[in-house]
Symmetry: C2
Subunit: 365 residues, 2 copies
């Protein structure tokens, strides 16, 4: 069989340095586990704008479509903060990847590591043991809906428009992913929208309910308005198992949940497409954190989120559950031993660089 094909898109800011630690794990897999990846590398975001004038070149997109999985670092930075031309923004590269690869299901775990329970601004009693999975719809909604744009409407007035749109099948396919994941976890799914105000949210609620009736009656389903969801996450986060929501609410609520854990530098994500005839899905894996331009290039960033994203990659794209667990366990052990990058530093712990964190994790492996 052909080698497993990976495309690396380190991107901007701290992207390259955290991705370097993944390279090391890939070498280890090659040497010690006899699992070989075929890794190509490309540019995305600001780095691609600098090189090609666009945040995602056709060649890079073609490569992304050809591989088994994409590993992404982070995109964006003040250098490219040019808010007037949307197509020339680093984010546009990421949005194009999501859309062109059809990555409609974005999995964002919000997990509190025992060793880091005090890093949260929430009380330890409230978040200890937290393990939520947010499934965010990623290729629809207001992010991609037409019509959109800004128009002059006379008298010096302008009008800005975006369109929130969802169809039955867009809702069903992401809800199906969420139901299936719930079955493998706590068997509870909460769907969030604003059905009390938005018809697109009402359709969402109706379609999720129908799919539940048809195929997933064994899963406990509840519905919540997204504003109440934002509150309930804070009030009692452990009431949730899997949450499914649309692109925009998912953006906000998953960031809220991520920050609740107190360790953004620890959180991975996976974005998955539809399974093909062989059950393979297009997929992209990236840390939840951003490009952190303020600390870029200084060997300060936390590589754990990216390494955990790679663990998700092993699990979801290559069925390498054992190796995924090994990576996850090594990270836990290293944290348990007191190693901390600056973002998760706490009194009494040992502060270390990106590289040294990588060293320690590799040693555990």
């Amino acid at each position: 069989a052909a080698n497993k094909k990976l495309l690396f898109l380190p991107g901007d800011g701290i992207g390259p340095e955290v991705m370097r630690q993944v390279r090391r794990v890939i070498d280890w897999m090659d040497r010690k586990r006899k699992i070989t990846f075929d890794v190509s590398e490309g540019l995305v975001g600001g780095a691609a704008i600098d090189a090609y004038g666009v945040p995602l070149s056709d060649a890079t997109l073609a490569e992304a479509l050809a591989v088994d999985a994409v590993m992404l670092g982070a995109v964006g930075g003040p250098k490219w903060d040019n808010p007037t031309d949307y197509t020339k923004r680093p984010e546009a590269g990421l949005l194009a990847l999501r859309k062109e690869l059809g990555l409609f299901a974005n999995l964002r775990p919000a997990v509190v590591f025992d060793a880091l329970v005090d890093a949260s601004t929430l009380k330890a009693d409230v978040i200890r043991g937290l393990d939520i999975l947010i499934v965010r719809e990623l290729t629809g909604g207001v992010y991609f809906g037409e019509p959109r744009g800004i128009t002059e409407i006379g008298d010096g007035e302008r009008r800005g428009v975006n369109t929130q749109v969802y169809t039955t099948s867009e809702i069903r396919r992401v809800a199906r992913v969420a139901f299936e994941l719930a079955r493998k976890r706590g068997n509870k799914l909460c769907s969030m929208e604003k059905a009390n105000v938005m018809e697109s949210g009402l359709l969402w609620r109706q379609e999720v309910t129908r799919l539940h009736q048809e195929e997933f009656q064994d899963v406990e389903l509840s519905h919540m308005y997204a504003d109440n969801g934002a509150m309930q996450l804070l009030k009692n986060p452990r009431q949730f198992d899997v949450i499914v929501t649309d692109n925009l609410f998912g953006d906000i609520l998953s960031d809220e949940a991520a920050m609740m854990t107190g360790s953004l530098g620890m959180l991975p994500s996976a974005s998955l497409g539809a399974p093909d005839a062989n059950g393979n899905r297009k997929a992209l894996y990236e840390p939840v954190h951003g490009s952190a331009p303020d600390i870029a290039g200084r060997d300060l960033a936390n590589p754990c989120a990216t390494l955990l994203s790679f663990a998700m990659c092993l699990r979801y794209s290559f069925n390498l559950d054992e190796e995924a667990r090994m990576i996850e366990k090594s990270i836990q052990t290293v944290l348990g031993g007191g190693m901390r990058t600056a973002d998760i530093m706490a009194p009494g712990m040992a502060r270390c660089s990106t590289t040294v964190m990588g060293d320690s994790i590799l040693r555990e492996l």
Copy 2:
């Protein structure tokens, strides 16, 4: 001069019982302060659906348009949870009031009371002394944008659409309210949108920036993506003074901020229209909490949020700053003395009913 005209709309659930405590304060003002209100009362929400078949009758709307200010309790409950006909939902009454009265600026303070600092799920050190004001746009955006609705598109598929739309003047008028309020407070305004993804958000950012340049250069202005805003609120809430944002982001973020304080039952809100030739604004005041059907009619609800909403009413609609402060101070004193309704009960405190909380506050007055 004519008496000050107030319309009471107690609404559903705990609405009537918390509004009853406002009546008592109004009596006190009449007797002790020689300030007399002309109070009329009407139905809204589920109560209006039961009586008239619609959540806001034309007569009630006409009355709301005629008075100086509206005091609202809460709307909604499982009895009227009929998600298929939008016009027959309790929420539709509230949305119609906002729209018809032109209440475009929704002021939602998120304040942590010293006596209640432990009620939050956030660490006391993070939220002690918190005093944020969120200004939410309330009559535009995706709540009211057209086109909207659900349509059949063939093959058993449906399509749900909502439209996010903002114009220059809609953005400027709410931003102006926010800048002016910032001037009276910490002189800092943070504007939140998703300008990196939505053109309506980009217009928002540009117009807020332009107004700042033109009229409010003395106020410190910053911009934040709404997802980052959701995180920063949790990470370091006291970095904020006034936040201005659109209708939908405001719905989510203000609820997040409210829950962060740990005492939803304490938070008031004001919704203001444009000033007329005499500087008077249409206005509606309501607690941030909902109708809480589970405890309705049992004298358990916390009346403080509604009483504090009345204090806002005195301040913003009637320029009765002294009386507003008296109410606020009484509530603080009563809390300091250990009185607690069930929602804010804590070990060592004295649990009391809605009525007894009202008694105590009146005694302080």
